[in-house]
């Protein structure tokens, strides 16, 4: 199918984009890489009156380090970040997850912030942001604010972003010493949306598991260091808490099973890595 008609503004500056959002509110949509939005336009799941294209704003392209976080602005394409030298040391979880985001061909266009703004419950980048307790930097013409990832994702493709705001950047905390990170997902085919995706972060005191693809948003739990039956029980409780449903791709029961199995796998893997970098 083809998109319904819309006006198009190729913003030359952040201010120009913000001004358009202030003026048009929810009638306007930001487009960056377009790998999530354009399919929705093509299927007419969304019919904005105005598209504001961010990709020619040069200041939004380059990722930077700031206060112990890798700050990835709205224009950074997934492929660019994946090629960043040292990403596996800097943000190992993201380095593990990014190759699972779509395909080479979509990562060449798609942005990280676009994925976060789109907020698909099974997407990898939002899951990493929640697992790492990162932040979303929002900006409108009037103000800038930072929202914790846990608070940003509100529901299925629903976020805390106001109509006049755009996701200016995401901040992903860099690797902490003595901490292990692991990512795993199950999808029907490589590059498909995950049926269940799990991200584990483990240090000397705490284990954190974030799960995507089950609830209406990426959801994390923190536990003290558990193993054996105690970990089984915690994973089982989480698997049920997430309220898995049946759909075309998988049954609720299969999803719960994946939460238990992939959850254990990433936590064990992350714990092993944490031990290695402590020793």
């Amino acid at each position: 199918m083809k998109p319904a008609r819309f006006d198009y503004l190729r913003a030359a500056s952040l201010d120009e984009a913000l001004e358009a959002l202030t003026r048009h509110g929810d009638e306007a949509r930001i487009v960056a890489g377009g790998q999530s939005l354009v399919p929705m336009l093509n299927m007419r799941l969304t019919k904005p009156a105005l598209l504001v294209d961010l990709m020619r704003i040069e200041t939004l392209c380059a990722p930077r380090r700031e206060n112990g976080a890798l700050v990835v602005p709205a224009g950074t394409r997934q492929a660019l970040l994946l090629d960043r030298p040292g990403l596996a040391d800097e943000v190992p979880l993201l380095a593990a997850a990014l190759p699972l985001v779509g395909h080479v061909q979509t990562r060449a266009r798609g942005t990280l912030c676009g994925s976060v703004a789109h907020a698909d419950p099974s997407a990898e980048v939002p899951l990493c942001l929640v697992a790492l307790e990162g932040e979303v930097h929002l900006r409108s013409a009037k103000r800038a604010r930072r929202v914790r990832a846990d608070d940003f994702f509100v529901g299925m493709m629903v976020t805390d972003r106001a109509d006049d705001e755009l996701v200016e950047a995401i901040a992903l905390p860099v690797r902490r010493p003595g901490t292990g990170y692991a990512f795993a997902e199950m999808a029907r085919r490589h590059g498909d949306f995950a049926i269940v995706a799990c991200a584990g972060v483990v240090d000397g005191q705490r284990m954190r598991l974030a799960v995507g693809g089950v609830a209406d948003r990426p959801t994390a739990r923190d536990w003290p260091l558990l193993d054996g039956a105690a970990l089984d029980d915690a994973l089982n409780a989480l698997a049920w808490d997430l309220g898995a449903g049946d759909d075309l791709h998988a049954t609720a029961r299969y999803r719960r099973d994946l939460v238990r199995r992939l959850g254990r796998r990433v936590l064990e893997q992350a714990a092993e890595e944490a031990r290695r970098c402590q020793g």
Binding site: M1, R5, F6, Y8, G34, V38, L41, T106, R189
Partner: protein, 174 residues
């Protein structure tokens, strides 16, 4: 830049296979349609129109892109390459294309243009790509005829040829 009105057609200028090109489009026009209908470049195929099948893959500024997920107005000033730009001259095939023919890496050919463009872009950046790398790239395309094995064999052989390495003469009919 001024806002482009939804109901009007606007001229977009870019480089297409090394030559300047101009096309008039509405803001909502997909790059697939601009290429095929606006410029008559029908080598780029349209399959799913939501980025899943890969048939419409071209390169934009050297990187692979789904033309069906790209608005034509967004490629102003960009360097585009399509399958029409692969062969060195009329009547001759490029290295990748020739490898595809030797390995029977296509049957109906609907997916082929996109796969060639993905591999061409990838091998330009990563001439030492392994079989696994190339399989991953081909994973971004759907082919309902070949079962992929001959496509992978052709890609591996073309990569070796492009590096100037000798290859086995017998094609693999997997």
């Amino acid at each position: 830049m001024p806002r482009l009105n939804a109901a009007q057609r606007h001229e977009v200028a870019f480089t297409l296979n090394g030559a300047p090109a101009r096309v008039e489009v509405e803001p909502r026009t997909l790059l697939t349609d601009a290429l095929r209908h606006g410029l008559g470049m029908t080598g780029t195929h349209v399959g799913c129109e939501h980025g899943a099948c890969g048939a419409c893959t071209i390169t934009i500024d050297g990187m692979p892109a789904r033309a069906c997920l790209t608005l034509a107005v967004a490629v102003e000033g960009c360097d585009l390459r399509t399958v029409e730009g692969l062969a060195p001259e009329p009547g001759r095939l490029g290295v990748l294309q020739a490898a595809f023919r030797r390995h029977h890496a296509l049957q109906c050919g609907f997916c082929t243009a996109g796969i060639l463009m993905s591999l061409d872009a990838y091998l330009r950046h990563r001439p030492h790509a392994t079989r696994d790398d190339l399989t991953d790239v081909i994973g971004g395309h759907l082919c309902r005829c070949t079962g992929y094995a001959p496509i992978i064999a052709a890609a591996v052989e073309a990569a070796a040829l492009l590096r100037g390495e000798p290859t086995e003469e017998t094609p693999t009919y997997a």
